[in-house]
């Protein structure tokens, strides 16, 4: 029988086990009152457009953070499932491999569906305030969005080109692109 190396990590002390229930109640109660209190102060200071911007930034932040976080969570869940089935894998059970694969695909599909639903919910929540923006704020948003997209594209292209001949080809292409843009 071939040797199988399965790395089994000791279960870390979970925060939910270490903190008493009363602690969670206190934290929850404090934030339930502090949150609305800060919101009332904020809405007195920030106008409708400011709130819209805060919503946009928050939605972007939530999606950007959750995208990476959820992928990592799915991979950790896959590893835990493999650890649970390590004996079956060591015994060469094809059925265990199939079950692990299908369960992991289902997890990934759930993640994709959840993120898509969250993105659509954010878009739905933002549609009204964005439509109510004045012209200069809309122009500002367009300007910042285009600038950031361009910055990400240029930065990514330079980084992936490295310092070899590919960078020279990138530069030559940019010259051709500028020429084509001027002639359009």
């Amino acid at each position: 029988m071939a040797s199988v190396h399965v790395q089994v990590r000791p279960a870390p002390g979970r925060l939910t086990d270490r903190v008493p229930a009363q602690g969670w109640f206190v934290v929850s109660a404090v934030f339930h009152y502090l949150g609305p209190a800060f919101a009332v102060l904020l809405f007195a200071q920030v106008d409708v457009l400011g709130v819209a911007w805060l919503r946009i930034a928050t939605a972007g932040l939530v999606l950007a953070v959750l995208g990476g976080f959820s992928l990592s969570a799915v991979r950790r869940a896959n590893a835990r499932a493999i650890q649970r089935h390590s004996a079956a894998l060591a015994a060469g059970e094809s059925g265990a491999i199939r079950r692990l694969q299908y369960a992991s695909l289902a997890r990934d599909a759930g993640r994709a569906g959840g993120l898509t639903a969250l993105g659509l919910a954010c878009a739905w929540a933002l549609a009204e305030p964005v439509a109510a923006m004045d012209r200069s704020t809309g122009l500002g948003l367009t300007l910042v969005a285009l600038g950031c997209a361009l910055s990400a594209a240029i930065g990514g292209a330079i980084r992936s080109a490295g310092r070899g001949p590919r960078l020279r080809w990138l530069g030559a292409g940019a010259l051709v692109g500028l020429l084509a843009a001027a002639l359009r």
Binding site: D47, G60, I97, G147, C148, A172, A174, L175
Partner: protein
């Protein structure tokens, strides 16, 4: 040995069980199952050992995983000692990862994306997107079929087969072409978008872009493009707040 087409289909989901311990291992085991089925009737003990080996740690580029899958399956049928097969799998991880990354992620994908963007600006619109999807998937499917066949034919001498194959030549050509295509696409697409907001707005957007490139290069991983975008949005909120 049967089950080649089923194994090839299963390779599309080879990253399904990706995790931090075995990486592609279980996905490879899932794809190997149809190939190893015939071994069950010939040598059941060897079949069990082969199934265990097939799901052990493995990692490489998913589009070239067929090379390792085919080679190890062939080696199992050829009666190669198990330890040697494990060494072959380990030895294939890094080269297949590096070759696949250069060929696809740093080569074919940016080349086709750049070409599609240029075509969109020049008027092809949705046809460009469809063309991109078609070309990329044809290349991906053809590479998958080739890699599994090559692995199955070569067995333990898969290293030599890879060295003699078209891959290194393609990488040499596709890298510069990708750089050129992206280089052409960025100014064309930027001008296409910026012409809508006029010269003052375009200069403002270019200033934001220049600042973004400079600060993300300066701060490195601490300030990614996403973080810079969020920072710029917050600054805009503050600006609108101070000067309503």
């Amino acid at each position: 040995m049967n089950g080649g087409w089923r194994a090839w289909l299963r390779l599309f989901a080879v990253q399904g069980t990706w995790n931090y311990e075995r990486m592609l291992g279980v996905g490879m085991g899932y794809a190997a199952e149809p190939l190893l089925d015939d071994l069950k009737t010939v040598d059941p003990v060897r079949h069990t050992e082969a199934v265990v080996r097939s799901a052990e740690f493995f990692n490489c580029h998913p589009n070239l995983a067929g090379l390792a899958l085919g080679a190890t399956a062939r080696a199992e049928y050829d009666g190669v000692p198990g330890a040697q097969i494990v060494r072959l799998r380990t030895a294939l991880c890094s080269p297949l990862g590096a070759l696949g990354d250069q060929l696809f992620w740093a080569g074919l994908v940016p080349l086709l994306v750049g070409a599609a963007l240029v075509a969109v600006v020049l008027g092809a619109r949705w046809w460009a997107v469809l063309g991109f999807l078609l070309l990329y998937n044809v290349a991906r499917v053809a590479t998958g079929v080739w890699s599994l066949r090559t692995g199955l034919d070569a067995g333990m001498s898969v290293g030599g087969a890879i060295a003699k194959s078209w891959i290194s030549g393609a990488i040499e050509r596709v890298g510069p072409a990708a750089g050129f295509a992206i280089g052409v696409a960025i100014p064309l697409v930027a001008a296409w978008y910026l012409e809508v907001i006029g010269w003052p707005g375009a200069l403002g957007a270019l200033a934001v872009a220049a600042t973004g490139v400079a600060v993300t290069r300066w701060f490195g991983a601490a300030l990614t493009a996403v973080r810079f975008a969020l920072l710029a949005l917050v600054l805009l909120v503050l600006f609108r707040w101070v000067l309503p």
